[in-house]
Subunit: 426 residues, 2 copies
C-alpha cells in the first residue's frame, strides 16, 4: 500500500544540554523542516531535551504516539556524555553488535588524519543496535540508525550539522522521497514595510476572506516590517506555484507601496545578477559599516566578476589620504554628512574605475552620538552613471544592527537604481 | 514557604508554524535559557508546535505535568492566525475582559506613529483573560500574561524577540529572581583544536574520572574543533567560578597545546583590548575575505580607537594600483601566494601608518581552484614591529565558511603575536 500524501506526520527530537542551556541555537531543525516541506512532508512537533535516559525514552514514547516519523539528532559521540545509541537500544529491547563495515570506515577516516590505531572509544562507535538499518556517515565516525516498528520510523543522526545534512541528503531524503512523498508543501513570503500588522490586516481583509481555500496565510511581524507568508499543499509543484503567484499578484495590486520583495530574493544576489548581466562593476568606500557592505557583496559566488574592491576609511586621515575627501568638507560638515559620503563614493568610483560606487558614513554606536547626529545616523551615497545621490538613515542604538541595516539599506537602494536603469535600457 | 533551588523545572513552548516549516530559527529559547541559568533555573524541555488549538492544549497539559514553570512565546498578534490568547483562556476556563490600561497603552503607541483611531483588531488586543496578571508590553501592542494555578506558573509572551526580551527583562526575570532563585547554574567552555573527540577523551580520562563531583563535563564537537563544557550548580557564584577555574587550570596543564581559548573570549574583543591597552593600531588588506576581517575587527564597540581602515583589493589591478603589489609578483607567484600577501600587508601598513597590518588572499570558492591551489587555500600575512610573516591555510569547499575561517585564523594569529609581544614588554 502506498502511503498517501500528508498522512505521515513527522516530529524532530534534538538531544543535548547545549540547546537547553542556550549555548547553541538549534539550526538543524529549520534545515530539516525545509527539506521535508520540499517533498511534501510536514513537521508537527519539535522537542529539545537533555541527555538523560529518562527524558529520551519518555519523549520517544510521546513522539511515537503522535507522529509516524521521528527524526532524532544528537548524542552519538564517542564520549561518556553521549547516550542516545544505548538508550535507543534499550527503547527497542535491542543489543549492540559490532558492525565490521562501520569499523573499517572509522579506521579509514582516522588513517586520513595520520592516526594508525584507533582507540577503544572509537571502536565502540562500530557497535550498533542489531534491529536498525545502519546509515553510514561518510564524513564522521558516528553512524545514523533507522528503526522501523509497526509502520513507525525512527531515524537517529549525529547533531553536528554537516554530518546530519550529509546523512539526510544521501540516505534519508531519497528514501523518504520514494516511500512517503507524492507532493510538495510550498511557501512564499512577501516582505512589507511601513504598515503595522493590524492596519495591514484591515487593508487585506477582503482579499484574505476571498483567498483560495487551499492557501494558508500568516502574518509574521518583526521590528520594522511584516512578512506575509502564503502556504499551499498539493501534488503538482507548478500548479501550486501558479496558485500562490496569482494571490501575490492580487496583493501587489492592493498594497503596491508597502511591498518591497519576496523573502527568497536575497538583495546581494539580485544586485549581483543585474551587475553581471549588464557587465557593470561595483566598489565600496565604507566608514561605519566597516567592511560589512563589501562582505555582503562578496558573499555571492562569482562576485569577483563585478566587485573590484573597497576602501575602508575608518579614520578621517585615511578618508583624506586614500579617498581624497577634502579636509574642508570633513571640518565643515563632519565625517557623517551628505558632502563627505558623496565625495567618498565619487572618489572610490574614480580610484577603482567602476560603474557604481557605494559609500557609508555614520555613527554605529554605542557611543559617539550627539544631539544633532545621534547614534544610528547613517549617511549613504551611490555614485553611478547618473551622478551621485546621498540618503540619510536613522536607525537604532544597537551597533551591529546599525552596521547591518546601513549596509542592507544602501544595497537595496542600488538594487532599485539598477532595476530602473536596466528597465529603461530594455 | 520559600521554594528551594532547582526545585522549579522550566519548559518553553514556542508556538507558530514558522519554526516548523524552517522559515525561522528559534533564537528566543536560547536567550531565555541563558537568562534563566544566570538565576539558577534550568530549562528541562523545549517544544515547538503549530498554531492549532489542539496542539497548544495538549502541549500545555504535558508541560504542566512535567514542569513547574511554562514559558510560552508566540501567537499573540492581532490577526486571525494568532490563537494563543483565546486558547489559553479556554485552557484555564476563563473569559476575556477589556483591560482599560492596556487599551490606553495601545492607543498611545499608535499615536506615536501618527495613527489617531485604532481599528477593531487592535482594540481586541486589550481583551485579556480575567484570571491572568497582565504583563504590559512597553514596546508593542500584545500584552504578556501570567497565570498561576496550583503552584504552577504559565507565562505567555509575544514571539517577536525584542518584545519578548523586554517583558522578560522588566517583569518576568525580576519576579523569578525574587521568588524562585537562590543560586546560579554556571558554564565555562574551553576551546580545543587539532584533536578528535575520542583522542581528547583518552588524554583526559584520568582528569575526567577525578573531576569534582559537582562539575559536569560535555564534549561538543564541531567541524575542526572540540569544545569542552564544564557546568556547575550552586548558590555561591564566586565559589562556582573558582571551582570551574580550578578544573580549567588542570586542563591547561594536560593539553596546553590543544587549548586556544574560552568560548566567552571573543577573539576580536581580545585583540581589541590588547591593541587599545598598548596604544597600537591596525589595518587590513583583504582579497578573498572581502571585508569580513575588517567587519570582525570593527564589530567591537570602540574599535575606531585602533582600527584605521582597510583596502579590499578583489581585483588584481587594485592590488597593483592601490596596494602597489608588484606586477611581477602577481605574474610569477599568482595572487594567492606568500609573496603577494606579504606585499599586501607591508603596503597597507605603510599606507595607513599602522603598527599591525593583516592581509588575506585565497580561493573562497565554489569555483576558481586548481590542482596546486584548490578551493579553500588561503594565504594570510601579518606585518608588525617584528617584520612580516605569512601562513597558509587549507580549508574546505564552502565559500562562506572559507571566508569566515580565513578571517578568524589570521585574527587568532594576531592575538598570539600581540600576547607574546605584550608579555615580553611586561
Amino acid at each position: 500500500m502506498q502511503i498517501g500524501l500528508y498522512r505521515m506526520k513527522v516530529s524532530i527530537i534534538t538531544i543535548g544540554d547545549e540547546i537547553l542551556i542556550g549555548q547553541i541555537v538549534d539550526t538543524n531543525s529549520a534545515w530539516i523542516a525545509q527539506r521535508l516541506n520540499e517533498i511534501g512532508l510536514q513537521v508537527h512537533k519539535i522537542y529539545s531535551i537533555p541527555d538523560t535516559e529518562d527524558a529520551i525514552i519518555r519523549t520517544l514514547e510521546r513522539a511515537r504516539k503522535l507522529t509516524d516519523i521521528v527524526l532524532v539528532t544528537g548524542g552519538l559521540g564517542p564520549t561518556n556524555d553521549d547516550i542516545t545509541k544505548k538508550t535507543l537500544a534499550k527503547f527497542f529491547n535491542d543489543t549492540l553488535v559490532r558492525n565490521e563495515e562501520v569499523l573499517q570506515h572509522i579506521k579509514a577516516l582516522f588513517q586520513k588524519f595520520g592516526v594508525k590505531r584507533i582507540n577503544k572509544l572509537n571502536e565502540q562507535q562500530a557497535d550498533l543496535p542489531s534491529k536498525c538499518s545502519v546509515l553510514l556517515n561518510p564524513v564522521g565516525t558516528a553512524s545514523g540508525m533507522w528503526f522501523e516498528e509497526n509502520k513507525k520510523h525512527f531515524i537517529s543522526m549525529p547533531g553536528v550539522p554537516h554530518e546530519m545534512k550529509n546523512i539526510m541528503n544521501t540516505l534519508v531524503l531519497p528514501e523518504f522521497q520514494s516511500r512517503f512523498s507524492n507532493g510538495v508543501f510550498l511557501h512564499k513570503t512577501i516582505l512589507t514595510q511601513g504598515v503595522p500588522e493590524s492596519i495591514l490586516a484591515d487593508l487585506l481583509e477582503e482579499w484574505e476572506t476571498s483567498l483560495n481555500t487551499d492557501v494558508k496565510l500568516a502574518y509574521l511581524p518583526s521590528e520594522n516590517r511584516v512578512r506575509l507568508r502564503l502556504s499551499a499543499k498539493g501534488t503538482d509543484k507548478d500548479q501550486l506555484n501558479e496558485l500562490l503567484d496569482d494571490e501575490i499578484q492580487k496583493l501587489n495590486k492592493i498594497i503596491p507601496e508597502h511591498i518591497y520583495g519576496e523573502e527568497k530574493d536575497c538583495i546581494e544576489q539580485r544586485v549581483g545578477d543585474l551587475l553581471f548581466k549588464n557587465k557593470a562593476t561595483v566598489a565600496t568606500a565604507e566608514s561605519c559599516t566597516g567592511g560589512y557592505l563589501a562582505y555582503l557583496i562578496t558573499s555571492v559566488p562569482g562576485s569577483s566578476a563585478y566587485f573590484r574592491g573597497s576602501v575602508l576609511a575608518y579614520d578621517n586621515k585615511i578618508k583624506e589620504d586614500i579617498l581624497h575627501v577634502h579636509a574642508d568638507s570633513l571640518k565643515n560638515y563632519g565625517a557623517v554628512s551628505e558632502q563627505v559620503v558623496k565625495e567618498m563614493a565619487l572618489s572610490v568610483k574614480r580610484l577603482m574605475g567602476v560603474d557604481y560606487a557605494l559609500s557609508t558614513s555614520g555613527i554605529a554606536g554605542p557611543t559617539g552620538g550627539t544631539a544633532e547626529k545621534p547614534v544610528g545616523t547613517i549617511w549613504t551615497a551611490i555614485a553611478g552613471p547618473n551622478g551621485v545621490k546621498a540618503v540619510k538613515y536613522q536607525f537604532g542604538t544597537e551597533r551591529l544592527w546599525n552596521v547591518r541595516r546601513g549596509a542592507s539599506a544602501v544595497l537595496l537602494d542600488l538594487l532599485h537604481e539598477l532595476e530602473s536603469i536596466h528597465k529603461k535600457l530594455e
